[in-house]
């Protein structure tokens, strides 16, 4: 094999559902032992993309080679080499955490004894002990996700596919997911993960592909993309639209403003972070206009799309609430 070794190679990978082109000619290269993140809003085509790579959905056209095997012609070989954790924790509600893991181990081909030893080690590794004998329907979302992750690591895969692994998770469970990904990469596993959170892609990925409307709209390392997206920002939220007009008038001479009228928000690039926050705050104070909020925040997915493609994401933008998480 040529160097560097590639775990995922797609050429013109396309999936149509009737008139909708969910994935539109995506060429992806994922190097072995790295983390690739597909970043994009809801409905961008990320899930369809990983479902094709995990052999769950056949491509309309184009090819995908995963771990050296074609996803259509050698689907069984692909399935033996990968593990997939879907967007919704796919566990049997009416079995306990331990029974679920045992079932997965046995389905992977382990005998009774080996499966049960393996499950004990997974229970330790993912801190499942305290709810190991609870039915899955009775555990919390974060606990469920941990069992789900453990279930996909019954065997060490060559490629782990994670579809929005932390959407809706509490911070602690998110940390577990993140550190698991890092550990696995240390052990040589390749990880392909989808996310709506710029922060997550930045924290985990070696390479990011920005996806919108089924197309890859930008790609690069996190530092490449960050250099193109820009720095932190200072957001000022006015109490009403008159206040917003006042703020725009007061700040526009001195700062490079981006205005989000429907959110009553002006946004200022803050390469110098705290210093910029302080100078914007001083200008607002001097204007005497009352405000709702002023904050320093990291760029969001929206900012990234704006900076990299010149327009906001074309598909459903995630709700503002989820963006707040990115900013926190």
């Amino acid at each position: 094999m040529t160097s560097p070794e590639l775990t995922v190679i797609t050429d013109g990978l396309t999936k149509r559902f009737g008139d909708l082109v969910a994935v539109d000619h995506i060429d992806l290269r994922v190097e072995a032992g790295t983390v690739m993140s597909l970043l994009g809003p809801n409905g961008a085509g990320k899930t369809t993309m990983v479902r094709m790579l995990a052999t769950l959905s056949a491509p309309t056209s184009g090819t995908a080679i995963v771990c050296g095997h074609d996803v259509v012609r050698e689907a069984d070989a692909v399935r033996s080499a990968i593990s997939m954790t879907g967007q919704f924790a796919a566990l049997e509600d009416n079995l306990t955490a331990r029974e679920n893991l045992l079932l997965m181990a046995r389905l992977r081909g382990y005998g009774r004894g080996a499966a049960s030893r393996l499950v004990e080690s997974l229970i330790d590794r993912f801190d499942i002990g305290e709810f190991r004998d609870k039915l899955i329907k009775a555990v919390s979302g974060g606990q469920r996700r941990r069992v789900d992750l453990a279930a996909s690591l019954v065997v060490q895969p060559q490629l782990l596919v994670l579809d929005e692994p932390t959407t809706g998770l509490d911070p602690r469970s998110r940390q577990v997911v993140w550190s698991t990904v890092r550990d696995l990469v240390d052990e040589g596993v390749t990880v392909l993960l989808t996310t709506q959170y710029l922060e997550e892609a930045d924290a985990l990925a070696d390479d990011i592909v920005l996806i919108d409307h089924g197309r890859a709209v930008a790609a690069g390392t996190p530092s490449d993309l960050k250099a193109r997206i820009g720095d932190q920002r200072v957001d000022v939220v006015a109490v009403d639209s008159r206040g917003l007009d006042g703020l725009v008038a007061a700040l526009s001479g001195r700062f490079d403003l981006t205005i989000a009228r429907e959110r009553r928000r002006v946004s200022v690039p803050a390469p110098d972070e705290l210093d910029d926050l302080a100078s914007v705050a001083a200008a607002v104070r001097a204007s005497g206009i009352p405000i709702d909020e002023i904050a320093l925040r990291r760029p969001t997915l929206d900012d990234a799309f704006l900076a990299l493609t010149g327009q906001p994401p074309a598909t459903d933008t995630p709700a503002d609430d989820s963006l707040v998480e990115v900013a926190s």
Binding site: T47, I82, G86, F88, A90, E92, R108, D186, E187
Partner: protein
């Protein structure tokens, strides 16, 4: 916080077990099917409401018709002997609803996707669904038959008649379960599946001579009833259990061959469609 995610723990996990060599596809199919059937059966006692569809409901029908409506319904012989074969037939047909609900739940929850992303023989996932459902329905049917016997039902099941009844009911269960599996894959929401299932099956079952003889029905319902597949099923079970003849249409004159023909037809149509749907199903 704990040491859950320390690299050391991961390393220990990795060296723990080596996968045994993979057996041939057929051996894997049997093993995986057994594992997945086991998964379904283990869940049964933990979801009593799922069993209630196959137990409480037929028990209510039995009591309601035996003691409330029964006195107004005139049949040859005792009403018990008329009603119970009807209820057995209805239980077989309603198996489609249970199978549909279980299938749509599995598909919408992503559990099926997880199994499909494993290197398992795909037929085993769907076989386990069918076998598990049939076992669940048999549980319900045994309970109905037991209650019937306790309340005075006297089937005339000498010698091979038992075997004939069991074979006929199993064939019916297999056919109706496949209908349910296909419907469950097409109708993604289990609530909708439940609603549509009853909206279709309940009228068909009431028309099928399950509770009231078809001969006494008015013209239009009678015409439907004479060709209702469930009529053939109920009449066939009744003929085997009690020796009661039926008549009115070609299928009612020969209920057992008619029922077998319906089941074979259903299987010829539903099995390939369900398998195709299972292979290509995508969100």
């Amino acid at each position: 916080m704990t040491t859950i995610t320390s690299p050391a723990a991961g390393a220990i996990q990795r060296v723990a077990e080596a996968l045994p060599p993979r057996p041939g596809p057929f051996a894997r199919y049997l093993r995986e099917t057994a594992l997945l059937v086991g998964r379904g059966l283990r869940a049964i006692p933990r979801v009593p409401e799922r069993l209630s569809d196959v137990t409480i409901q037929p028990i209510m029908f039995t009591l309601l018709f035996l003691y409330v409506f029964g006195s107004a319904i005139h049949v040859h012989g005792t009403y018990q002997d008329y009603l119970l074969p009807g209820l057995l037939g209805q239980s077989v047909a309603f198996g489609a609803i249970g199978a549909g609900v279980a299938t749509s739940t599995d598909f919408s929850s992503g559990v099926v996707d997880r199994f499909r992303s494993l290197p398992v023989v795909r037929m085993s996932v769907i076989s386990a669904q069918v076998i598990g459902q049939i076992i669940e329905q048999i549980l319900g049917i045994v309970i109905v038959a037991g209650i019937g016997l306790a309340l005075g039902w006297r089937p005339h099941l000498g010698g091979f008649r038992w075997l004939e009844l069991v074979a006929l009911m199993l064939l019916g269960l297999v056919a109706f379960t496949w209908v349910g599996v296909l419907a469950g894959m097409l109708i993604r929401s289990s609530d909708a599946m439940q609603g549509i299932g009853f909206a279709v099956m309940l009228p068909l079952s009431f028309l099928a001579g399950t509770f009231v003889p078809i001969a006494g029905m008015k013209l239009v319902p009678r015409a439907i009833a004479e060709w209702d597949p469930l009529s053939a099923l109920v009449a066939a079970v009744r003929q085997v259990c009690q020796g009661t003849p039926s008549s009115g249409s070609l299928q009612l004159d020969h209920p057992v061959p008619a029922m077998i023909a319906w089941c074979v037809l259903v299987l010829i149509v539903c099995v390939p469609l369900a398998l195709r749907r299972f292979r290509t199903a995508s969100v």
